[in-house]
Symmetry: C2
Subunit: 329 residues, 2 copies
């Protein structure tokens, strides 16, 4: 009898709005519905002063509709683009993103894994530089770029294919003597394969090549010295350079300009990542483009359907070449 005086339920909202219960649920969870439905549901929620009991809801569904996303930082444009695409994909599925820029801190990463175990989040998408990260097999966890073993699905660009493509493209543009420049983590991860693909292509084409690989933290002067050492009679020995990232390519191009070596006339340069100025303007350089949207979509699709299928342990998505003015085509 006193039903009208007790707290309104989701059913009451559906009745008031004249819509199905599922529609109310969608609106509450932020899943898109038709504009007119949304307005009716929101008006009914307001009229009845309906308030969702989240904790009861949490106990019942055991879901938080939240995915933790961990990246090393939000300074690198590649990580920003990745996070942006993951956010977009999650929102399309009615999920939210709990973002942590870990600053390469293993403790922060471990804390988020513990949160997932405690069901504060429904899963984790992680780009980790921490080989010690302890991940339980019982929680939905997708790794980007780092292969933890066959129990943890890993999604990455086809880095090997990208390295190969860079060498082949430089050869196609007429280069006869190549160099590969890398600064980065000494850990074996998917991006390490860029070198392997590059070397493989050079050897199958019988193209001479030189590698200059230094650890993270090495001063940039190491590359300036390397280039200087390879100038013979005022001319750089290499006519094609593949840089492990667009960021390194940017610095190398500036150094070459300072040394009065013309790009692309004297030496052609290809980077890796596909970064654009201000996120949406020109490419920094000719580059191997990582399929960031596809990586994001695959990660999100896999983490939301974890129970349905046993995913493959490593998914490598195809990269493409983009002209950015630092090669002849």
């Amino acid at each position: 009898m006193s039903k009208q005086h007790s707290s309104p339920t989701m059913k009451d909202v559906a009745r008031e709005a004249g819509v199905a219960l599922g529609t109310v649920s969608k609106v509450i969870n932020g899943i898109p519905v038709g504009e007119s439905y949304r307005i009716r549901v929101e008006e009914a929620i307001q009229k009845l002063n309906y308030r969702i009991n989240n904790y009861a809801k949490g106990l019942k569904s055991n879901k938080t509709f939240t995915i933790a996303v961990m990246v090393p930082n939000l300074i690198s444009p590649y990580f920003c683009r990745l996070v942006s695409c993951i956010n977009k994909s999650l929102v399309q599925h009615g999920y939210r993103m709990l973002l942590c820029a870990t600053d390469y801190d293993p403790e922060q990463e471990q804390a988020y894994v513990i949160m997932a175990e405690q069901q504060k989040v429904d899963g984790i998408i992680c780009l980790s530089y921490n080989p010690e990260l302890k991940v339980s097999e019982s929680i939905p966890f997708i790794s980007i770029d780092r292969y933890f073993g066959s129990h943890i699905p890993c999604v990455a660009s086809d880095n090997y294919g990208g390295g190969k493509l860079a060498a082949e493209k430089l050869a196609e543009c007429g280069c006869k003597n190549l160099a590969f420049l890398k600064i980065g983590s000494r850990l074996t991860n998917e991006p390490s394969k860029r070198k392997d693909g590059f070397v493989n292509a050079c050897e199958s084409m019988n193209l001479p090549y030189t590698l200059k690989i230094v650890d993270d933290g090495t001063p940039y002067a190491a590359f300036e010295n390397f280039l200087s050492e390879h100038i013979k009679e005022g001319k750089l020995e290499f006519d094609g350079i593949f840089c492990v990232t667009d960021s390194l390519a940017y610095q190398i191009i500036n150094t070459l300009k300072y040394m009065n070596i013309n790009v692309p006339e004297d030496v052609q340069v290809i980077g890796f990542d596909g970064i654009r100025q201000f996120g949406d303007l020109d490419f920094y350089c000719s580059t191997i483009v990582q399929p960031v949207e596809e990586i994001a979509d695959v990660c999100v699709g896999m983490i939301l359907n974890k129970e349905d299928s046993l995913p493959p342990s490593l998914i490598c998505l195809p990269v493409t070449y983009a002209f950015g003015g630092t090669t002849k085509q």
Copy 2:
């Protein structure tokens, strides 16, 4: 008698670890404690197989230790830096960031406000382009760059002072005829004051100036045409240009290069934001730098201490000038 067989409590963990209850709480909530304490607590948690009852915890403390952060996108380097700094500041306070890139979508913004009302998050920090956004006074809400009225605290750079500084700096560098270029939202927000400060400084210095202001979505060609129209006898009439953002400055500098007008010899250019290539390398241009870290820290400090004080309705933080090669000093 059967105490040992029931679920372990936080007190049991504290006893096992030989630490204070507060230390256990800190470890669980990700608040930094001494390394040795953290290890002892984590070992005790593992040994006792302690699992936090989050929903009970939620009901009790009514806190989620989560702040929703809304920005229009994660493509613009300025928004990325802002989010990065807010994340860092939140983590230092033992909070987590629920990030939403709203893609300028009012519905998504409104959904997050509803979440805050339902206490799924402890507060919202929002950079909104939506003047219609309905915000209840009862939830902790901090706005960046958009002033909603004296009931909602707003934190921004001193945009007026920045516009003034740009004009003064160009004058100091010897410019005699200035232009201000802007593309952006027609809405009045804090960044609109960049123009007002610029105009004020030009008028007090008796420097001639021209404004070219177009709405968001206007093709960039509008600026190319504007520059072409102001070339007299092969020479640009302006010797100093202030662009509303570094992003616009980047495009303008490219256009000037294409027109064979030398920067900074023929015309000096100042942008606004303080964006660096790849987030941490060179400035794109000489620029007015927004104090992003300070903006983030003030927002986080205010939202976590909402109850303690009545904050001022608008806080403008000081900007600085940085040389980036597109001015003479």
